[in-house]
Symmetry: none
Subunit: 224 residues, 2 copies
């Protein structure tokens, strides 16, 4: 296997060097950038498998940088992790929307960092793990495209699967109809108003009514 490339983005040199040290010790090839613009340049050039972004940065913050990176085609498959201070709840929500794959909390502990990085990189190299998400007895497995409930497996049609996966990706968060349309159907597709309802209904039929809650006038959320 090729040496893995990691791009590290933070405005604090100390943190940059601290993380670099710990990752290079593990044999990774580490690139660093001190701001979003440089990060994007480097990412274009080096095509890293994993990008670690500090959320809090001057000028262009991590989320914005993430959004820009996600627009670059050849980086579509890169794994992006955010560095955040503990308990930055709002940030996290925005971060998942931006397509983050994981969060790493500061202060950083070397061991945690390394094992997390390994787990994230394993995802790319096909190896089993991390693909399943379990919440309130319901498990969705992206890789196998299966939903499990109480040991039984169900094959959901594509839209239903994407919909439940979206809602579960951020349990408790209310997804507006707009958001749902944009992320499950795509921005250019135009569908009628009742389409979402019908899909929600099908999900409730299969999972039970207790998981998906309607927030009238706002949207839907997953609860457990």
């Amino acid at each position: 296997m090729n040496t893995q490339k990691i791009l590290l983005v933070d405005d604090e040199p100390d943190i940059l060097e601290f993380i670099r040290y710990n990752l290079e010790k593990e044999g990774y090839k580490v690139f660093t950038a001190s701001n979003g613009v440089k990060a994007i340049e480097l990412a274009q050039k080096e095509n890293p498998q994993l990008i670690i972004l500090d959320v809090m940065m001057p000028d262009m913050d991590g989320i914005e940088t993430c959004n820009e990176i996600r627009k670059i085609d050849k980086l579509k498959n890169a794994v992006i992790a955010f560095l955040t201070a503990r308990n930055e709840d709002y940030t996290q929500i925005a971060g998942f929307d931006a397509g983050a794959d994981d969060y790493i909390n500061k202060p950083i502990k070397p061991k945690v960092l390394v094992s997390r990085v390994k787990a994230l990189l394993r995802r790319i190299n096909g190896e089993q793990d991390g693909t399943a998400l379990t919440l309130g007895g319901i498990e969705i497995d992206r890789e196998k495209y299966i939903v499990r409930k109480e040991g039984k497996e169900y094959n959901f049609p594509r839209k239903e699967f994407e919909l439940v996966a979206l809602l579960m990706s951020k349990p408790g968060k209310v997804f507006t109809r707009e958001e749902i349309l944009s992320r499950v159907w795509g921005d250019d597709v135009v569908v009628g108003d009742r389409t979402i309802d019908v899909h929600i209904r099908k999900l409730r039929e299969k999972l039970g009514d207790e998981y998906i809650r309607t927030i009238k006038g706002v949207g839907y959320k997953f609860e457990f």
Copy 2:
């Protein structure tokens, strides 16, 4: 040839006796154990060529038992098969990590059981494999480019072989059309839309419809 020893482990006496009856009829020497601890003891003493483990057992489940057995040096070459209920959480593919060689689905049909056991034992006696992979009664041999099903051998054309080998390499995982094209045909080859379908059809014709499942809008996967 020496009489072959088979160790059977299940907590349900009925199943134990049912299988024992069918295997003894074929001339095998069958030992039974009702739990993992006894199984390990017996395995140590009798050194069976084949061990059939029920996955679901109280206290020490099949996978755990398997892990313990694999630690015993003289049992390194034993073939281990799991008994599983159909549609049971495929999580057990974790069983492969534990070093399982095959899965046998419940409910058990005598004929299927016997031919399966024969196929597994054939591996030990004489025919050295190393590159063979057996799943749900289908065995693919990368070296000889041969597919075996219930004792019969089939010569698959290259593409068909590569396709089934790919799907079986990660049972349960959905391979997108894109992935399949890239890995069986290569990234630069351009083939029409229906090409994959036709090959899938040929495989289903030869193996039976129950192995390859279509996930509409996503891809195909191997199931057993």
